[in-house]
């Protein structure tokens, strides 16, 4: 049909636009309602699930970690706020805040000995010792979550991977690649020598000594001149387990 000019044509066009707008609004409203409904169902289902498995979530570290995974998949962070309904429902926020505080305490207590770098395994052991009155078991996953919450405060808590092991750093020291490689090497026996570093990593002696000196300065390494072979050994309290009871007692 040919479009006719004139006022009538304009009016028809305006009326049509209004109709479209109305229809569009209706559709959008329908969609939002549906969405709201779905969300409400989802929330109540999740709530019901959490309530039903509250004890499992609290007591069983594996279950807890799986629950967290599930939450992450659907974009829910149960730890986001202590005021959130998750926290009220599960007390799960408190659990991690408490864990966080205990981790800070352990890191501070052992810092004079290990220079602020501690083996994740050892940290977990010390945590368990500290919490032995609580029957609730904790896993490495719990530690990682608690530490990730600490990071938000900008206090310099961080988990770093060195070789196969995870280390928790509580001092703002930046470790470069050289330092990490030395720490990795030290994991075998708890110590390294300059010779060993040069040989295993094919470094010049200057580079090895430089990196070791920095680690000494940072309090992460200790020298040992007492071995029969007369070679200086550099020990790393953060990678050897002998430290377990030092610091925990003091």
């Amino acid at each position: 049909m040919r479009r006719r000019p004139g006022i009538g044509g304009l009016q028809t066009a305006a009326a049509a636009r209004d109709q479209y707008r109305l229809l569009g609004e209706n559709v959008a409203k329908l969609r939002t309602d549906l969405m709201k409904e779905q969300l409400a169902t989802f929330r109540s289902q999740l709530e019901e699930f959490a309530r039903k498995h509250k004890n499992d979530i609290r007591k069983n570290p594996t279950f807890r970690s799986q629950f967290h995974e599930m939450c992450a998949k659907v974009g829910v962070d149960p730890l986001a706020s202590n005021k959130g309904f998750w926290a009220e429902l599960l007390g799960i926020g408190d659990f991690y805040y408490e864990l966080g505080v205990q981790i800070v305490e352990i890191c501070l207590a052992t810092r004079p000995h290990n220079g602020g770098l501690i083996n994740m395994q050892e940290l977990c052991n010390l945590l368990r010792q500290k919490r032995k009155s609580d029957r609730e078991a904790i896993s490495e996953d719990d530690c990682l979550r608690a530490i990730s919450k600490l990071k938000v405060m900008g206090s310099g808590f961080e988990v770093i991977s060195v070789g196969k092991k995870k280390l928790v750093r509580s001092v703002p020291t930046e470790l470069n690649k050289d330092h990490n490689q030395i720490l990795e090497l030290a994991q075998a026996q708890g110590f390294v020598t300059v010779d060993e570093v040069e040989r295993r990593l094919s470094w010049t002696s200057g580079r090895a000594i430089d990196a070791l000196d920095t680690l000494l300065e940072e309090g992460l390494a200790m020298i040992d001149d007492g071995h029969r072979d007369g070679r200086r050994r550099y020990w790393f309290p953060c990678v050897s387990s002998i430290t377990s009871s030092v610091g925990a007692d003091s």
């Binding site: 000995h113 000494l216 300065e217 020298i223 040992d224 001149d225 007492g226 071995h227 050994r233 009871s245």
Partner: protein, 179 residues
């Protein structure tokens, strides 16, 4: 946990670098602190009053990890105790060290309490009696070092709490409490 007799050794005693003086200040301070506590603890429980730097001393070496303290390290740890008033060098060469796990003042207080508990006020006893007599059995005074005891008694004499006088036998002195 490793033990020396009935004494429980701390974990650091098995960690080799603690037997080498640490070059970095903070690390060394922590190291010295741990050794100071260990030496005082050990001497108190084993009733050891004098440590000879060049003599065998169970804490100075750990056969399990094949490490022993150098003379320099021994002197450093003991000097740290001396600077805190918890030890005194007995000679200029720093070869012998008197360990005061109680300060002289604390020993004096213990002696006064001992005198009161045993009704020794206004009576006469001897230095040897205090160290080895029946009354002191089971107290910290029993078997204590004579030098330390004399120092504590002299302090009390200075304060007018007692009088020391030469007894009839040449090797013993009398003590009269006047608390």
């Amino acid at each position: 946990m490793q033990k020396l007799g009935d004494f429980k050794l701390p974990a650091f005693f098995n960690y080799p670098p603690y037997f080498s003086l640490q070059p970095v200040r903070d690390t060394r301070e922590k190291q010295v602190q741990l050794w100071k506590e260990l030496i005082l603890d050990y001497c108190r429980t084993q009733k050891i009053f004098v440590i000879g730097l060049e003599e065998e001393f169970p804490l100075f070496s750990n056969p399990v990890i094949e490490r022993s303290l150098s003379n320099e390290a021994r002197e450093a740890f003991l000097s740290a105790l001396v600077s805190e008033g918890r030890a005194e060098w007995l000679d200029k060469g720093h070869r012998k060290c008197l360990i005061l796990w109680h300060r002289i003042q604390d020993w004096a207080d213990i002696i006064l309490r001992f005198a009161k508990d045993n009704g020794l006020e206004d009576t006469v006893t001897t230095v040897e009696e205090i160290r080895t007599g029946i009354e002191s059995r089971g107290t910290e005074l029993h078997g204590m070092d004579r030098t330390v005891l004399m120092r504590a008694l002299k302090l009390l004499e200075h304060k007018g709490k007692l009088a020391i006088f030469k007894g009839t036998s040449a090797d013993d002195e009398g003590v009269k409490f006047s608390v």
